[in-house]
């Protein structure tokens, strides 16, 4: 067991974890952060995407011990004081989700994309979301949602981590 301490969605937490424990398992099983989900075992689907020190990562591809001392933001910490992040609003406004399973990861990746490129082209959006799989929407409305958020100036509107 290794002692780690980190900040998750604004709260300071500390635990003893097995060295093999993945960050996503730590979030779900130890912290109850079940908004972040597991969709595959090969780091293809991106459903588990969170922000680690402000950068998007697939939390199935990070060991919990690697997050020691870091700041993690999950989908559950994205809204601030009850106000949705503009990207969350955009996904609802543009019907960018159906079953919603990929949505936490898709939103976290979209926020990261817009942080790095506030006015992306459609092609840049599509390439920027390439690591996140969705089976319901055909991506059409996800792209619309990111465009909508970009038009609202989302990168400056909400803190992300």
């Amino acid at each position: 067991m290794t002692r780690i301490s980190l900040t998750v969605d604004g709260a300071t937490v500390a635990d003893d974890v097995e060295p093999r424990m993945l960050l996503v398992q730590y979030l779900r099983e130890r912290l109850g952060k079940t908004g972040t989900v597991i969709g595959c075992d090969t780091s293809n689907c991106g459903a588990c995407t969170v922000h680690l020190d402000g950068q998007s990562v697939k939390s199935c591809n990070v060991l919990a011990v690697q997050a020691d001392g870091a700041t993690v933001t999950t989908i559950e910490g994205l809204a601030q004081n009850g106000t949705l992040h503009p990207v969350q609003e955009a996904f609802r406004e543009c019907h960018g989700l159906q079953c919603g399973f990929c949505t936490p990861g898709m939103i976290m990746q979209s926020v990261d994309l817009l942080n790095n490129n506030p006015s992306p082209s459609e092609e840049e959006i599509r390439l920027g979301l390439e690591g996140n799989l969705c089976r319901c929407t055909g991506y059409h409305n996800i792209v619309r949602a990111v465009q909508h958020a970009a038009a609202q100036g989302s990168s400056t509107a909400g803190a992300t981590s």
Binding site: V37, T42, L97, Q98, G100, L129, R135, C136, G138, N141
Partner: protein, 818 residues
């Protein structure tokens, strides 16, 4: 306080009620559920496609840390139950017994032979690796055609791999002529198109892996499952495991997609049920993605042998369909019924005078197959829409022209088809005209000609698909005639709460479709209450105590209509109470906009006020029960028949075989639209799943029966970067057999798009003598087809313009359009 109702909810693009919890992570997926004392399961699965189990040594696993039990099939008796087939398609169907955990022989790679119960999921998985299983490998039946010849048996005790032969013949049914006569005449002085198409095996690949939690504490045993079918699951548990139905509660919490893949009763559910009962503690099993791809049921997997007879001007005179359908190792819950659903759709939107359909279902040592989005209808639509393009090429006319020559004209509805269905409404001319205009059809054809003329290395192909489907499964009487094991009705209830809020339950079980939103819109209109005041409850057999769940684009067309009828009963129950409270006679009470009023006066009461008065029950008419709550069970009188015209433009790099989709236009007629936002989302998602069959996806097995596309590294789900934005629109011919006029939209995009894409690819390459490219149309296959030219540049026997004359029942191919 209750919100204010607006004039019309139906037709509004309401944002979804579901979204708030989904975009904030406040979700209840089955894998999120944690119960006190809960134990975790890990499965030990066979690496072999076919083997006898010689021995299973669980001793080392039993000693592993925090392992509670390691159990095999031999440790259970009848309480383990069996996985059921609900649709024996013929009386003499050969159906292997499907134990959730066989103790003697495994029939596909991935079948469960032992289960480990431990305090954590990680410890269960660790211990599963310590279970020693000795197998005696058996020869495996893998190739569908070879399996159909019984060269190797998937289940030696059955003596054959042939499960059932299901036949429909229009001559015998009296719905049309004799197809052999039509083919004979066409051979003499018409056109005969003979083709063999491959429907590759696909994997539904819902994003939420399947998960099940069983809670045996308390009087009712509770199963939470990531399923599309909680009600059917409850029935099947009761029917096969000896627990009374009244002691079983099944809950489908938030469910992350299904596409038919969660229309199943699974070994994993049955094992969790048995283990939970055995250990007396809650248990959870969540599959890995690899387990999901390997052992969740697959879809499609057919060989289609097709013969189309036509006159020289392109008027079709007959269609003969001979299918081989791979069931996999077991006959799944719908199983062979999937290709049978397609039997009614090969004739599609056309007036074919003669039709013959025969499907042989075949057992193999692969993962079982069952419904995948469209279920039988995509396969049928692919076949006929590919054939119509081949016919157009043979006649030398535009593909839309040959379709128009054969399709049912809008003034001919209702129309009884050669397959015996009555299409109630449609307008193929209108949808096609709109699609042509949106697509810029003539301009793209001109560009195509210019590229051909200039020898451009990038050629343009234009693909057409004018599809229809049967939705709203299904009239119970028809299901009975087809030997399906249940009905096709749906249930709904409307409960008027004391505070004026409305609680709706439905037997449909949403897993991403947006029922909570669309159903709220229907009830808001019907009762004149605010959209926000309606709460839709579903997916829990203790809440919506009966239902037949969600699949086959049925929820709105069947479940929505049940809801309308329940709401109307509420109004009828409220009328005498309103009359009493308003001191008027019932005959003078009108109901409109949520208000009961006395005709000719300004006296009236809102329905919410009546609900409050009924709750108090202080002042009701004599003999009237103090309740407005009502329910309804609706059995559809007919299917509904959405249709549409899909047009696809694809650029083909003839030097590399690379494909680039340039434009995709579809105009679908799905009847009346409750929520256009949700409908467009269903179309987009459906399109990509159908396009993915055409271009990317395939479940591939190696020679020993191992699924080699068993992870998302190898099974090519499209990404945002692979796909384009779509141009979609609608025409509207309401369904005429129920009050909502809706037809269903869940499967339309998937059914229509696959042939549109392949037709586009073939259209670009027809000039090189290419007639077919096997799906998925990979760059390699496209490139090889161009190099091979001639008779289709066939890849792995895909394009077969001439049948083997030595095969029985196959004539020669004079006049064939190859």
């Amino acid at each position: 306080m209750t919100a204010t109702a607006v004039d019309h909810e139906i037709g509004r693009d309401r944002r979804r009620k579901e979204d708030q919890r989904l975009i904030t992570g406040r979700t209840r997926w089955t894998d999120n559920i944690v119960l006190p004392g809960m134990l975790h399961l890990a499965m030990v699965r066979s690496p072999f496609a076919h083997a006898n189990i010689a021995s299973i040594d669980t001793s080392e696993a039993q000693q592993a840390p925090n392992v509670i039990a390691v159990l095999t099939g031999a440790d259970f008796g009848d309480e383990l139950g069996v996985c059921i087939n609900a649709w024996p398609i013929t009386p003499d169907q050969v159906t292997p017994v499907h134990s959730p955990m066989p103790s003697d022989r495994v029939s596909f790679a991935g079948e469960i032979v032992a289960v480990v119960v431990a305090r954590s999921a990680a410890e269960a998985r660790d211990a599963a690796e310590l279970v020693e299983v000795e197998y005696d490998e058996l020869p495996a039946a893998l190739d569908l055609k070879e399996a159909a010849a019984d060269s190797v048996l998937a289940h030696p005790d059955l003596g054959t791999n042939k499960s059932a032969l299901w036949v429909f013949d229009s001559g015998e049914a009296g719905t049309g002529g004799n197809v052999e006569d039509a083919i004979g005449k066409a051979r003499a002085d018409g056109i005969v198109i003979e083709r063999e198409y491959r429907q590759q095996r696909l994997i539904p690949a819902f994003m939420e892996p399947r998960s099940v939690v069983v809670d045996p504490t308390g009087e009712q045993l509770v199963m939470y499952s990531a399923t599309q079918i909680p009600h059917i699951l409850r029935f099947a548990l009761a029917a096969t495991t000896g627990v009374p139905e009244s002691k079983i509660r099944v809950i489908a919490p938030d469910v992350g997609g299904g596409f038919g893949g969660k229309l199943q009763v699974t070994p994993e559910e049955w094992i969790a049920w048995a283990v939970g009962r055995r250990v007396g503690k809650p248990v959870k099993y969540t599959e890995t993605r690899s387990e999901s791809l390997m052992s969740g049921h697959h879809g499609r997997d057919q060989w289609q042998k097709l013969t189309l007879a036509a006159e020289k001007d392109g008027t079709v005179t007959g269609l003969k369909v001979e299918l081989l359908a791979d069931l996999g190792a077991y006959v799944a819950i719908v199983g062979g019924g999937v290709p049978v659903l397609g039997a009614f759709m090969f004739n599609a939107i056309y007036k074919f005078p003669a039709y013959h359909f025969a499907c042989q279902t075949v057992l193999t040592n692969k993962t079982w197959t069952d419904a995948y989005r469209g279920a039988g209808r995509p396969e049928a639509t692919y076949a006929i829409e590919r054939l119509m393009d081949e016919l157009a090429a043979e006649v030398g006319v535009d593909p839309l022209e040959v379709r128009e020559k054969n399709w049912i004209k809008h003034e001919e509805f209702p129309f009884t088809t050669v397959a015996g269905l009555e299409y109630d409404s449609g307008n193929y001319e209108a949808a096609t005209a709109k699609a042509r205009q949106m697509f810029g059809y003539d301009e793209l054809r001109a560009e195509q000609m210019a590229r051909r003329a200039s020898g451009d290395p990038v050629q343009l192909g234009i693909g057409v698909s004018t599809f229809t489907e049967m939705c709203g499964l299904a009239p119970s009487r028809v299901l009975g005639q087809l030997d399906y094991g249940a009905g096709g009705w749906e249930y709904a209830s409307v409960r008027m709460l004391a505070t004026g809020k409305v609680e709706v339950t439905t037997g449909a079980s949403a897993h991403g479709q947006g029922h909570e939103t669309a159903f709220s819109q229907i009830v808001a209109d019907r009762l004149g209450v605010a959209f926000e005041d309606v709460e839709v409850l579903h997916g829990d057999t203790a809440v919506a105590h009966k239902g037949l769940d969600t699949y086959g684009s049925r929820s709105l067309a069947v479940g929505g209509e049940a809801l309308v009828r329940a709401a109307d009963k509420v109004v009828e129950k409220a009328k005498p109470i309103a009359a009493h409270l308003l001191e008027a006679s019932v005959e003078d009470i009108d109901f409109a906009g949520g208000r009961f009023s006395v005709r000719g006066t300004d006296q009236g009461m809102a329905i919410g006020e009546i609900a409050t008065a009924v709750f108090a029950a202080h002042n009701l008419p004599d003999g009237v029960e103090p309740s407005l709550d009502s329910d309804a069970t609706y059995d559809p009188v007919n299917f509904s028949f959405p249709h549409g015209t899909h047009l696809c433009a694809i650029e083909v790099d003839t030097e590399t075989g690379a494909l680039k989709m340039r434009k995709y236009v579809c105009v679908d007629d799905v009847g009346n639209i409750i929520n256009p936002l949700i409908v467009s989302g269903q179309v987009h998602g459906g399109l990509v799943q159908g396009i993915a069959q055409a271009l990317w996806e395939e479940a591939v097995y190696d020679d020993s029966g191992t699924l080699v596309s068993g992870s998302f590294v190898d099974y090519l789900l499209p990404t945002a970067a692979d796909t384009i934005s779509f141009d979609i629109d609608h025409t509207t011919s309401p369904a005429t057999t129920h009050s909502l006029g809706v037809k269903g939209v869940g499967e339309a995009g998937t059914i229509a798009s696959t042939p549109a894409v392949v037709n586009a690819v073939v259209d670009a390459l027809r000039q090189y003598g290419v007639h077919d490219i096997q799906m998925p149309c990979t760059p390699e296959r496209v490139w090889r087809a161009i190099q091979g030219g001639g008779a289709g540049g066939s890849t792995e026997g895909a394009a077969m313009p001439h049948f083997d004359p030595s095969e029985p029942g196959q004539d020669s191919t004079e006049g064939a359009g190859a």
